[in-house]
Symmetry: C2
Subunit: 529 residues, 2 copies
């Protein structure tokens, strides 16, 4: 574990101390939500291949593939997380790498899930030396107490792709599960017994990795279509019995929050949307799979159905609630970065207005423009928010690193109205803090926070172009009799209700860095004693 | 005009003298059909952009766009040819560039058509200084008599994309017509009044040009889907009244050849396919828009319908004949690089088994593998073939440069059986030559040539892996009573029928270079007196 003393530090523009160098790489402190202008003019290019017609790419032997890609000590490998908690590939590949005696691997997953807990053994035995990627659950917990030498680097969806495209990270070999694939490597995620939906997160890895290995349990005749991953980006096709457990790949029953606190929060958000005059034809929004987000989707869908309104588009994290809105004709287009349930996959397979996105299109700000930019509203969650509207989604208030950034920063960067919904208290812990433990998304990107007892608008440190609008909206909401207050008021209410801040017992270690989408450092995560 | 004396020459592996340098760029002689191994490890990357959310990309003023992209003397600009002879954009943009007083432009179109004849004035007035791209018709004729300083560089579809991706050419600004587009630049070619179908050839230009300008006559609400061109690759959207004339964009009535010579050639090809045992479930083939190719498609379609067979896939140049085969269920998948008629566009819009290709997937051999590689047979045309099976599609026997390479080399590189169909004579000119005027596709890639009087198999200088198969097939065809002979025999028959070779009166000028897909030089085109 690296300790605080091992680094030199500087202050960034959200007031956090951050290291200026790690493992020989220079780091830049976060300096504003629009991001730094990169010095490079062009992205990293795709590797040049030269496939001789007729040459066979298929193997059924993972060890054979490791030899063919010449995997060796110190290399970087990547995986995607579309198989979520049903994934059987990361553990399988890492076990084989251990058997092959290869050490000192840098793991660059898009995200790791509880199912990947066995990787702890691969960290202990030296197979894995470094991780740059989202950690959800046990591995985050393991890392929190200082069990890895280099701090884990956390990036958002687009931040990871930017890092890859700008040469900040490099994948030697990408191991990418696909649910339908032909012998040349044309592939998708919507067909086959292990269908997982949108291939959004694979595309960049397949395109830019030095070597790309697709792994499938469903080899189909050439050409496999639709072509989410083109054979042009693929070196090898590994056929296995199963890429994962469908029960874990799909959440199955995503539930709308129905507790009174969440219901009240939804009421308030709907009232704000009404005051903002957004609930009309052309509305566009971002909705994920959280219980409140699902509930808001359902309410918007019902309202639009009742009034005969048509929303312009929604971006997900798609679920059956968005699909139903699309099918009822109250949503024109559904843009899909991740598909969370069987209904979403079925829709993606058959509905031309349900469109698979590339992570680049979803949220890479270093492009001509993304789909999040035209969103009129987004519903974001948080583990903590502070009185400056900074959001933490990585660590719990007790200090444990248990979540990745996901698309939190990305959506906040693009969307025109970022609404954070949180309860005042979770198990007695006030969620509005003086200062969040970890800054995941800078407060300047957040327009308001909504709790069950009231709402607070960011009129002081919001994006310049948003300050006036947030003030106007605050005014309208107050006039409409909504419980408008300040973030400090919300915090006071939580404290007055008996809320008590948790005081984590930190050690001296630095276990993770939180990067902004532009690659600058927002914050670091401390070790726990 | 450059003269032969202006260059140093070397002999390439098809026996042609080719220059070793042009305009300060080194050239490599063609050295074999598998192509050279590039020295670079990675392709050129996409330009890094940084679009600020909310910034408007739309303009209705082309002069305004020229200022915004900072177009200046000596720059390179590109266009695509999906609007074919209906295109109104190339002339419009070039006229505006002249009005802006910008000179010395390098034109990098995918292809120019007769409708672009007015560009001759832009060459004369110095607006256009160099052309690298396919020339079909009047501009080729104009170039043939030496009216441009630097030789035109001719490349195949994939050769052009490879040159772009490998940094051999660079596009400063791409001006790309699209038939449906939103304000951010998500676009396709299948919707709108000027629909042209597959966007295959735009994608590379949009992705790799320094600046990308989409031009549309059909601005639609965000998000325009399907997304053939993503907004991530787009800097500006120019809205005009019309991008082209639908009558010229779509060929409308592509006709099957019905003359006796063509009919006999089709009979012979069908017999060969039968002897090769290809006319069964799983057959895959390439069929374009030529009269014989269409006739063969129709015959295969009819045969498969009668026998209840299902072909695996076809690649086009799509036409209603392929669409009908798909719709009748005798073709599993239709892969679309260009869409030639309204029926094809309608099918592309609605049929999930009709799939839009990227030129990279279609034919770029410097990738993990293309769709042409699994084709069991291709039907190729020629202006001339020689007794070594070299094919000329660029110049007519009278020496005029009137055609681009198209996908000729690309298909020949990938497809497993390349069948060239030509009549023995065209207007008294024997089509089988001692030596073709211009080598477009090297003979080693051609497996057989079929004329109305007989067929000749390439058993001497075919690809090594093909020699035995071609000998076996020759044997089978002979045993089946088909008119098997040598290419020399075919030439003799043409001469005996009164055929007389045309002797062009060449000047000393070098008006064009023909490149192979790997960037090496196959041949040059001489000026005419």
């Amino acid at each position: 574990m690296k300790r605080k003393d091992d680094f030199e530090w500087t202050l960034n523009s959200v007031g956090r101390n951050v290291p200026i160098e790690i493992g020989g790489r220079n780091l830049r402190p976060y300096s504003g939500h629009l991001g730094i202008i990169p010095e490079k003019k062009r992205e990293v290019g795709r590797p040049i291949r030269h496939h001789e017609p007729g040459k066979d790419k298929v193997s059924r032997d993972i060890m054979d593939i490791l030899r063919k890609v010449e995997l060796s000590d110190g290399m970087s490998i990547s995986f995607h997380h579309h198989l979520r908690n049903g994934d059987s590939l990361v553990n399988m590949v890492m076990d084989t790498i251990k058997k092959a005696g290869i050490k000192d691997i840098t793991l660059l997953p898009t995200a790791l899930f509880p199912v990947h807990e066995p990787l702890i053994e691969r960290i202990k035995d030296g197979t894995i030396a470094r991780i740059e990627g989202s950690l959800n659950g046990p591995i985050g917990r393991y890392i929190s107490i200082g069990n890895i030498d280099q701090p884990v680097i956390l990036r958002s969806h687009s931040g990871r792709f930017r890092a890859l495209a700008h040469g900040e990270i490099k994948i030697d070999v990408a191991f990418l599960g696909v649910s339908s694939c032909d012998a040349m490597g044309n592939a998708n995620g919507i067909d086959g017994p292990s269908a997982f939906g949108s291939c959004s997160f694979l595309k960049g890895d397949a395109h830019l990795a030095d070597k790309t290995v697709l792994i499938t349990d469903n080899l189909v005749p050439f050409p496999c279509t639709p072509i989410a991953i083109p054979a042009t980006d693929v070196d090898h096709v590994l056929v296995v019995d199963s890429i994962g457990d469908p029960a874990g790949i799909l959440s199955g029953s995503l539930e709308i929050a129905s507790d009174p606190v969440s219901m009240t929060i939804m009421d308030l958000v709907m009232s704000i949307l009404k005051e903002a005059d957004l609930l009309k034809d052309g509305f566009s929004f971002q909705a994920g799979s959280g219980g409140i987000s699902l509930g808001l989707t359902q309410r918007i869908s019902d309202l639009f159905a009742t009034k005969g309104l048509i929303a312009s588009y929604a971006v997900g994290g798609t679920t059956r609630y968005l699909v139903e809105m699309l099918e009822k004709g109250n949503l024109r287009k559904l843009l899909d970065g991740q598909s969370f349930d069987p209904r979403s996959i079925q829709s993606l397979r058959t509905n031309r207005d349900h469109v698979e996105l590339y992570v680049d299109q979803y949220s890479n700000p270093y492009t001509g423009g993304t789909v999040t930019e035209n969103e009129q509203a987004s519903f974001l969650s948080a583990t903590e928010v502070d009185i400056d509207f900074n959001v933490n989604v990585n660590t719990h208030s007790d200090g444990w690193l248990l979540h990745g950034i996901g698309g939190h920063q990305d959506v906040a960067y693009g969307s025109q109205m970022n609404i954070v919904t949180v309860p005042l208290l979770r198990k007695g812990n006030p969620i509005i803090k003086e200062e969040v433990l970890t800054v995941t998304t800078p407060g300047e990107l957040i327009d308001m926070v909504v709790c069950e007892k009231g709402m607070a608008f960011n009129t002081l440190n919001a994006r310049l172009s948003h300050v006036q609008r947030n003030m106007d909206l605050e005014d309208k909401c107050r006039k409409a009799g909504l419980p408008v207050m300040t973030a400090e008021d919300l915090r006071s209410m939580a404290l007055n209700c008996g809320g008590k801040d948790i005081m984590p017992e930190f050690g001296e270690g630095v276990v993770a860095l939180v990067k902004y989408i532009d690659g600058t450092v927002l914050d670091f995560v401390r070790s726990l004693k």
